[in-house]
Symmetry: C2
Subunit: 211 residues, 2 copies
């Protein structure tokens, strides 16, 4: 399979959601134009993205929603379960344990850890907060695939180093800081301020247009 760019992978996630939505509504086929409109991109881009994986669509007939969804699920690794650990039982960590969308898409939170003795031993949604010092042992025991960093920025690099040491191969970082990991480890940064900046952009430009 050809290497797919990060932005294509992200668009596939969006198509996947739109397809889920269409299937729920009982829609059986969808055109690239319709998918494009749902996700706010061009239909040429949709066709280009989907052409990476061979030809799904039939000219003039569009794509079969279920077949396309299943194919994208396989590409994104959503046709299996993944074991996830969270480091940091603060507000973001707690929100993520409760986040239904993760479980729905195949990501099972198996472990949450913190360094605060006041938090260790408490439960969040039935999951016991474990001592982060036991991370290497617990990560192996729970066969963790992906770790989420939800600690303050100044502790994030140290946590990343520890996770890499413990054999974690994929990290999702919620701390607002760039982290260094070895090339064999995949890391993605989640920045919750990015979307709100798209809104301030639109509001600014509206204000400018009105003034």
């Amino acid at each position: 399979m050809k290497k797919i760019s990060d932005s294509t992978v992200k668009r596939l996630s969006k198509y996947y959601r739109s397809l889920e939505h269409l299937i729920e509504k009982g829609v059986e086929t969808v055109s690239s134009e319709e998918l494009a409109e749902m996700d706010g991109i061009t239909s040429a881009q949709v066709r280009k993205d989907l052409s990476f994986f061979g030809t799904f669509g039939k000219r003039g007939l569009g794509y079969n929603t279920r077949a396309l969804k299943d194919q994208i699920a396989e590409i994104l690794g959503l046709n299996r379960r993944w074991n996830v650990a969270i480091v940091g039982a603060g507000n973001i960590g707690r929100a993520l344990v409760a986040y239904e969308e993760f479980r729905k898409q195949g990501f099972d939170i198996k472990l949450i850890m913190d360094s605060d003795p006041q938090k260790i031993g408490n439960e969040i949604h039935g999951l016991r907060i474990e001592d982060v010092n036991r991370a290497p042992e617990l990560i192996a025991q729970e066969r963790i695939d992906i770790a989420i960093i939800a600690v303050p920025a100044n502790a994030a690099q140290q946590v990343a180093d520890m996770l890499v040491e413990a054999g974690v191969k994929a990290i999702l970082n919620f701390a607002p800081r760039s982290l260094k990991v070895p090339p064999h480890v995949h890391i993605k940064n989640e920045n919750m301020a990015i979307e709100i900046e798209a809104l301030s952009y639109h509001l600014s430009n509206r204000n400018r247009a009105n003034s």
Copy 2:
């Protein structure tokens, strides 16, 4: 000014962060190649994105980091403060009140509301949880620019309707559901599962390559 695509706006947010990081390190100029490498895209794309706003860079000299950061700040509306309201004082709402990155980029959380009588009147980081029934009055009083929906999926559309009715022009939706708003209202969906799916994609493809 030409209309800028959503994906360009998102990349501008990323360049902005990379520039902040470079300025913190005392770096005065940056090439499109360096910006591209930091953000994982092509240098041609960086040049194309920045060309929308006139020529910043000098051929062979790169971009002045401070000048470029200031210009992007102006485009994104980050050179002023925005008043933000959150609906929903659950885990995500609480995490957002505490999220430093918002305040740092100019987004001030002025108001958090909930419908649960057990929560109303409690404080989160010094902010009193208000009754969502008072939303129209409080949104006007606090001159809210942007509202964040952090309620369960089945309540999200009703909250969106109420916000539109109260005159809110920009909404950031954390509920995992597509919401309908009139064309004059900007809405962005924050889906925290998108980035983790990029990781499962990489892990799946590594596994496939190894098997």
